[in-house]
Symmetry: D2
């Protein structure tokens, strides 16, 4: 039931990741992990846990019906838990009452979102790394190739195309750095129970909530959050902000490329592939569709993040409206970001660079200026100056990349732990 327009603004992979089926699957992984952990600390019987775990398989559920019933309930977790409880009860009547024990709708939803988001981040990082690799190669190859430097969209002086590539790369590397921290902070198990106290998870006076959380975190590959984040959304939204910063940096590169591929500039071209970037009627058109995708994302994503930020004042122990708004905005955010990351990795993979045209554009400017101004500001020698800068900064970037964690590996967190 999604918008047909995400098809070319996002990617099949991330669209699938946030499909109804995959999110229900992630919710079931939460419920299975919960049962496993609770059995292991003695909160629920081992046999009940086995029944629950065995039933937490997405193919056993009517996802469409669950979504349909979510409308009346006001939550997609409620019909899922109901359906899971009924199904468990079919096979093991005694186990049914241990389904979803001591937890709450928001626990399962937030954790499910953390699970699919982790995978989305991996996808995004993969594409960004590809883009960076292309850019570093271009930067090296064109370190000293002169190109107009333009300010206020007018020729200002001369720089090198290699330095332009370095300048596109640096914020992407910084995004990877910041994302690893933000991801490590935000990708936490949510486990607060009805009102954030896990009051139901105890045996006599012994509070078992923290142990259950720790086991689930290890099991699911998420962080054991030291605090419930039911209505404290800062770490989650901080991750959203990082998504927007990345989209902005990709959008900056797309903006520059879209200007350089203009027929009148002719300095770059997006890769030529059959069926890509054509028009429905004009055979001569070659549309920079990768830039289009990244630019569209750079318009949409800031608004997604504004919605997340605006939704932060969440009432008391569970919010009315703001929580649901945040949940619903999140998938679209990740879809746009991966669309942008993928589009730019495709554009860069086959980017055509016309250094002769770059030089010709400089010459055209020189031709209209007094010789002294031309020699001061549009001297091709300035490209050599830029080259030195490009090379020294390349080294900095290479070193920064080496210091990054391998994708999927845990990073240090900033939060109290």
């Amino acid at each position: 039931m999604s918008s047909i327009f995400e098809g070319f603004l996002s990617t099949p992979e991330v669209l699938e990741l946030f499909s109804e089926r995959q999110i229900v699957d992630a919710m079931l992984r939460f419920e299975a992990s919960l049962a496993r952990a609770q059995a292991s600390v003695g909160l629920i019987p081992e046999a009940a846990a086995q029944s629950i775990i065995g039933t937490c398989k997405v193919e056993l559920f009517d996802v469409t019906k669950i979504v349909r019933e979510s409308a009346r309930a006001g939550s997609v977790a409620i019909p899922l838990v109901k359906s899971l409880t009924e199904t468990v009860g079919l096979f093991n009547k005694d186990a049914a009452k241990f389904v979803h024990f001591g937890t709450t709708s928001q626990d399962v939803l937030d954790t499910a979102m953390a699970l699919v988001t982790r995978d989305a981040l991996d996808m995004i990082e993969t594409d960004v790394r590809k883009t960076i690799a292309c850019l570093l190669a271009l930067a090296e190859r064109h370190a000293g190739d002169a190109v107009l430097a333009r300010t206020f969209m007018q020729p200002a002086s001369v720089t090198s195309f290699g330095l332009k590539c370095v300048n596109w790369t640096a914020p992407l590397v910084r995004s990877l750095q910041r994302l690893q921290v933000a991801g490590a902070n935000a990708l936490s198990v949510q486990l607060g129970g009805a009102v954030g106290t896990l009051a139901q998870m105890k045996k006599g006076n012994k509070k078992l909530g923290p142990q259950v959380m720790a086991l689930m975190a290890a099991d699911l590959g998420l962080r054991a959050a030291p605090f419930s984040w039911h209505t404290q959304r800062d770490e989650w939204v901080a991750l959203g902000c990082e998504m927007a910063l990345l989209t902005g940096s990709l959008g900056k590169m797309a903006k520059d490329i879209s200007l350089m591929v203009q027929f009148e500039a002719g300095e770059l071209a997006e890769p030529l592939e059959p069926g890509r970037g054509g028009a429905s009627v004009m055979p001569h058109k070659r549309n920079p569709v990768s830039c289009m995708v990244a630019l569209a994302a750079s318009v949409r994503v800031p608004q997604r993040v504004a919605a997340l930020l605006a939704a932060m004042p969440q009432e008391h122990e569970r919010a009315l409206g703001n929580l649901q708004a945040e949940l619903a905005e999140w998938p679209g955010l990740l879809m746009s970001v991966h669309g942008s990351a993928r589009a730019m990795s495709q554009a860069l993979a086959g980017l055509q660079v016309d250094t002769q045209r770059m030089q010709a554009n400089i010459d055209a400017v020189r031709g209209e200026l007094p010789a002294d101004v031309a020699d001061e500001w549009f001297n091709p020698a300035l490209a050599q100056h830029a080259a030195t800068l490009a090379r020294s900064q390349l080294a900095v970037l290479t070193q920064a990349l080496a210091g990054l964690n391998t994708p999927g590996k845990p990073a240090r967190t900033l939060a109290p732990s």
Copy 2:
């Protein structure tokens, strides 16, 4: 592939309306209507038109494949037109070259959006009218029933619940009024051809574009726009703004109700129905889920509209990025708005009003104040003052409603025509 969270924040009807299948169907209605009009003015052969019209049936197309192929093309119109052309060619080889004649991707997409949006507006209007009808009845019934007037969320004085209902109604009536104008302006056929000049639609020196447009407008029930709106999006976005104003007014009512249904206030309750507003674990919970939906919409919709407004600077004769961003934001906007309109129509249909509790809350305030202050500001007689106001304003609203067009009927436009 949509977000699972729209299931309870929107409605099945509007989700279906913006489904891939329905949008492809609307695109095919454009292509059929184009062929019909072009044959009628002699631009294409009648036989070709018959072939095209006969093929423009959504059940003949592989919608999923078209969406999948949109990714590479950068547009969903390109694979559809390709598929349509091939299918027409199977039956009538000569007709194939007259498919989509003289037009462009954006023509079909914009017109398709106008078609589905018209239906969405009807749905929205229907729910808003239901809400208004409930509110007017409540206003009459409770015209003189005293309730605390609260400013800065603190008791300020006494008003009547009837006047509160009137105040919730007035902006809804104004929304219907403004929506009829905005809809009449915005729901236009888009027909500009490759670059907005309809240059291909001529016979010798005779320019047939305007005639084709007029015939299509009559056929499709849309306005014949006097100007191409390829990159002049003000009337379309103005309609989007009206959507947000309506959502804001519904959100204001939801905010008030959410405060009045608090246990501590207890003045109102959302209707009680099985399976509605429960919690996944707490049997005693009765969550105001209609308010939740309307409040979530009031957080999300302003950001959708900000995206539409931010996307208005569209380059030259077709934009790179901003057009696609606008297209993709639109369905989510309408989904949230209908979700909100429906939710409030459900809340109002069975709203429980506790006038005794309203009076008790006034008495509680009086009990904490010096007698003179209590008598000046919390005098139950103030409700009678409010009642007079409520009744006179009810008459104004009733008259305004009578002046509205019946849903689906054309309204006057403001734009040059």
Copy 3:
């Protein structure tokens, strides 16, 4: 204490209009008008009214002190009313108790905003009309001058510069049309008293509020709102939306011009004036600073409007936070809009058009294409097709302009009245 950066993104006139002094002046005009009207219906003594009216002169007040004291009070109206009451009391002890009688902070603030906004709208309309006049002249002069039509920022076909001008004009004319309606609806006296019922304004059982409102409306040149709009902000925010639509249309024109003035395109240039658009160090720079201002506004204004829309769910009879947010966002909105309108009126007043370069750019495209494609899509004769369209649409626009009210004159309203 404002941001130094509005100096070049707005105009001196509108900055002055929203200065502390002018807003206090408008608040005093409200208080004077209130006293005049209340005396005239016998609610307060004529002598008291004379004292109050005589004291409502901004030069008698310490504006800086009032603003400073607003911090503690949480409202700028409270210290002003206090100061006014004290000053009136100095001259006429008996009159002091009739200051601000039966009204509330929000009444004076909202009405003051309506007063200064009316003047801002006049300024904006004046600049938009200047721009339209320039555009119509350019459209006529260049009706048949060929220029590249560009889609996705790539050459697509040929149109005429005159038609481009028409396309820039049409949304501005529509903005004037819609603004007259939106302004007429929104520029209302606010007069609700403590909680929107005007309960204090009665004599015995006679309710005099509506009469006072009518007299004030006539006196201040504002509309007599049929409903209190304390927390029903739709008409006010609808006017804000119109501001954003205008900014978007100006931004679209600025975007196009910024692309056409690129050195590599060279089709247009902003007017050359001493001290305008230079750089701090590069003598050869000629920056399109008018486009810069309009583009900056088109990024900022959508967010202002999103804030207004997001603030619409205002609690009960006066909001906590949302009202104050809306008030504070408003001046910046108008500042940016007038900045944009002025900038574009300056750019258009002396816009330099290079039709030879336009033709040369077409020729360059033709040179790279097969002859048949060049002849079909880049045929200079296409400009004549566009010319016909441009001329017929010019007539439509001229007629629409003639149908507009003269600035400052009242327009029909849409709202119930």
Copy 4:
């Protein structure tokens, strides 16, 4: 010429910090530091540097005139540099040509913004630390005091007020942690020269730019950015995002408090001070004005940040429109954030806590439920469970606070260096 409404939504200190005078002062500190550094590496004569440094005193400049002239120039740096050059020339004709040597408008503006922003961050941190201190004391005092836990704005179960305080505190501590990193990354000298290459700063073949940058960084107490950030705004906007996250967390606390201070709940009250939170006419009103300020900020700030994010795609080596939009949005962002931080520090400093009323509200809920439900979900013993959690989390927070840098001290950065 600012908005009168910031007076009660911001603070006098931060309004002064972003005043025209203080920003010009910061710009002059840049120019003086530049001259000092350039003389020290031999790029300009020592005597010229002395003249420049001696002239860089804000009291020598006509700030109002500079701002007025910025309109035509399209930048406030251009008239300042012109005025500085003229003034230096009056005293030392030879020195004039060394003013602003090898640098550009954006260098001075960005660095000036970094300087005033650093001071604003210190102010904000000071108020947040005060709030945290109050909250920790409250958390300890009320660790076991029972209060209703509310979900969807309805009573759900019982928690402790101490745990609520802990939950308000944790995101503030995390904000301090993240802010130290974000600030350390973002508060950099900007020094790129005309197009980001510092090409003018060389002596023969020796590139002295990096040395000048390092000296200036040490002199001004800012970071020496390893890359020019003329059009790579991610680190700067990341700091803006942190501002919004903080505002969101403060807004969440304000939202909760605003609900708890409702007359009908009566669990908390903002501190009572003369002249604070009164109404212009109702003597009995006690408005929660601190919450009002924080809630208003939480509506406005997300939109500021959306504008910053939307402005990130900055063209080439200096942007047209997006740069200026970002610059102009920044001061308002910091003003709102400090307003919110100050307001909450004032609210917390004297917050009145009514634990009896908290208990009474629980009892009222119990009274309406079956005994078994009441005993399971509204058992006062649940507060003891929450108390244990509160105390263990207090320890985590205290330790995290101890690990923070002292305000004003440099923190580790994440960026390549």
